[in-house]
């Protein structure tokens, strides 16, 4: 393993920000830590970088314990959340910084800076002032700066956090391609699930300093391990129910579940695609409370008439009912997951 964390713990004034975290990252793997703010994901990166001492546990790089190894000798790269480019230096000097710190010959520095600026799509920008860069350009320079000394592990803290959406979507693809081509080992943290899913080979969901779930993006998306993960991924239709056989008894009535589901009192997730609209006199009776246009579909928010939490349904554009309409709701077992 390139990176191993064992029982890594960091406390800020009695509160455990990292609570016995264990995590392995293999060479060439791209791992994304996903979690809401305050879940300890930035602290995780800082601990690996050597910027935050551990209160307990170990960080190993290439199998070697990093206790007592200061940040500048760990040979890892970290791209900061708001880039932290050096304001007094131009783009080239920012990218060359790590090379200078490692005493690379001048000619080699120039070569590498050119190479990296080409790589991140900013050829010829070496003499530009940092202040003249747009947000996306700053992000690219920060990436080039972090990559320049060829770190064995590249860490990204909210790499695309402050950029606008279209830029973010484009850059995510570029990053994914770049890491694949370079074979870089990456540990990124983000609060944005679409970013994590697009970027990572493996996603690690964090909650309150602990790891809640770890798996491929598909695994995590299809089978969230508990209600917290499901809600964090954006699923609203989570309800408690008693599973008996292939049905669960919930406030929304009887909901079919896939064969082989865990039995007993469970959290049940109904994906929006699994909420079917039927004529008003069939199934669960609801009123349309709101509808939001999502581009490919319309998200319809339904308020059950006989109390109970709201349901979100994904409808085709033409078939979406109007606000105030009375509708009936049926459920599709294939889109229903019985959680933990």
């Amino acid at each position: 393993m390139l990176l191993s964390l064992a029982e890594a713990t960091v406390r800020f004034g009695g509160r455990a920000v990292l609570d016995g975290v264990g995590l392995d990252v293999a060479e060439h793997e791209v791992v994304c830590v996903l979690g809401p703010s305050g879940s300890g994901k930035s602290t995780l990166l800082r601990a690996v970088a050597g910027l935050q001492p551990l209160d307990a546990g170990r960080v190993l790089l290439d199998g070697r314990d990093q206790a007592g190894v200061p940040a500048h000798r760990r040979g890892v790269g970290l791209m900061f959340q708001d880039h932290q480019l050096f304001p007094q230096r131009d783009v080239g000097a920012n990218v060359a910084f790590g090379l200078r710190m490692h005493d690379a010959p001048k000619a080699q520095q120039g070569e590498r800076v050119r190479e990296l600026l080409d790589l991140v799509g900013l050829p010829g920008a070496a003499r530009r002032a940092v202040a003249s860069l747009s947000g996306g350009e700053q992000q690219r320079v920060a990436l080039a700066r972090a990559l320049a000394p060829r770190p064995r592990l590249l860490m990204l803290d909210e790499p695309l956090g402050q950029l606008d959406r279209s830029l973010r979507e484009r850059l995510v693809v570029e990053l994914r391609e770049l890491f694949g081509r370079l074979g870089t080992t990456v540990l990124a943290v983000t609060h944005d699930q679409s970013e994590a899913f697009a970027l990572a080979d493996r996603v690690v969901v964090m909650r309150d300093g602990r790891i809640a779930q770890s798996g491929t993006p598909l695994e995590v998306w299809q089978r969230p391990v508990d209600e917290f993960v499901a809600r964090f991924l954006g699923f609203e239709n989570v309800v408690e129910g008693t599973v008996t056989g292939e049905a669960a008894d919930t406030v929304w009535g009887k909901v079919p579940v896939p064969p082989g589901a865990a039995q007993g009192v469970r959290s049940v997730l109904v994906r929006p695609a699994g909420v079917r609209l039927v004529p008003a006199d069939e199934g669960l009776r609801c009123t349309v409370a709101a509808r939001t246009f999502k581009g490919t579909h319309v998200a319809v928010h339904l308020q059950p008439t006989d109390d109970g939490p709201r349901l979100e349904a994904a409808c085709a554009l033409r078939e979406a009912p109007e606000v105030g309409d009375a509708v009936g709701v049926g459920f599709d077992a294939a889109e229903i997951v019985v959680l933990g």
């Binding site: 050597g50 007592g68 500048h72 900061f80 708001d82 932290q84 050096f86 007094q88 710190m101 000394p149």
Partner: protein
Amino acid sequence: MSRRGAAARLGLMAVPVAFFAVFFAWPVAAIVKRGLDTDGSWQLGRITDVLGQPDIRHVLWFTTWQALVSTALTLLIALPGAYVFARFDFPGKQILRAVVTVPFVLPTVVVGTAFLALVGRGGLLDEWWSVRLDTTVWAILLAHVFFNYAVVVRTVGGLWAQLDPRQEEAARMLGASRLTAWRKVTLPALGPAVAAAALMVFLFTFTSFGVVQILGGPTFSTLEVEIYRQTSEIFDLSTAAVLTIIQFVAVGAVLALHAWTVRRRESALRLVDASVTARRPRGAGEWALLAGVLAVVAVLLVLPLAVLVQRSLGAPDFGYYRALTHSDGGVFLVAPIEAIGNSLEYALAATAIAVLIGGLAAAALTRRDAGRWVRGFDALLMLPLGVSAVTVGFGFLISLDEPPLDLRQSWILVPLAQALVGVPFVVRTMLPVLRAVDHRLREAAAVLGASPWRVWREVDLPMVRRALLIAAGFAFAVSLGEFGATVFIARPDNPTLPVAVARLLGRAGDLNYGQAMALSTILMIVCAVALLVLERLRTDRTGEF
């Protein structure tokens, strides 16, 4: 990790601590011992004896209230100036900023004499309106404002210029009135700087020497003047020592208070380039404010200097200036003009020492994990500011005169004393800027492979280069004008400018008086030129100097 940090901090602090131990603590200890220890037994009862004397109590009371009033008056008059210099663009601003700073670095004796020429018997006001202030406390207070105007403008205005105006705009958008936005956003951000400036002014005026001695006459006397009187006129070292201890305690208390307030309010501020925050004044109110500030500068700061220059030209054909090139064999072993070369050499050496010591200290104090005793160190560094310069000079004389440190015959003695006075300026100037550097920039450098030393060189140094230059300029100017300590230790054949001025003032006759004015004018010009060069460096932000 944290142990390593502590070791690094200790390493950084070792040099400043050693410097202060040898050149500050030891001389002060020597003087206290000389005063309180008679024939091998300590006589602490002396303290209550001295405090029991009504005239000493009167001195204490006067020292305190005049310092408080001077500080309040200085803030009142200089804060609008700080605002104008920070936020307005107007023609001649750079030169004016240097002009404002000149008084601060003038020798106290010269300032005293200039104010005497302005408000004293036969002075300008006396000639025009028959008004004399030299027998009132107003002369002292005005001279104190004259001196310390720059402290407030530099300390507060320097930060003010770099505060992001959008913070105030954000408050206005949230419904705060202009005044409320200023009060709730800008004022708290300026708080530490205002507190630091107020503290400096209080300390300077609390320990005021030259000004009070000349303008105070027999009526008004500060602790510092009293210490000097006891030391060099009455030769009562014991009383002088007791007064030194009292001053020490008072200054220590003020510094502790300051450290406490600064710590409570310290925060990383959003700083922007000063050039983007300044603009032309808009509307009648702002123009009136600018005009008012300019008027204050003209009357309070420029007029005394103008009178000084005018008096120096009192003899035909620059007679006073030409007289400076001759040694009269009496007061001077050498021609007074040679004092200029001496002063420059001493000041350069003192600046180098002060920047080295102060820079190391500031770097040590900036480290994030600074503990309580490090903050104590912070306050310790300020002590030489508050302790009488006379004490430092006299202490040097009696403590550094025997092996292993027999420096009495060495030229370095004068720069060392001057550096001691300069170090607090260097620390005060650099610390706020160093502390405002975003810590994550340092982390970014560390992750890219920079050792702590290289982080300082690559991240901190470029950002504080400006502050460092300003600090060096201040240290240089303060060294040039330093009088209280230098007067004790400068050798007769190597006088500095202020010492030469004082010697000339000490003699009767128009020629000596005129020569003193001429030499003071030269000193003023040297300081002004140094500051103007500094201002040019400050604005040249593109090059690496």
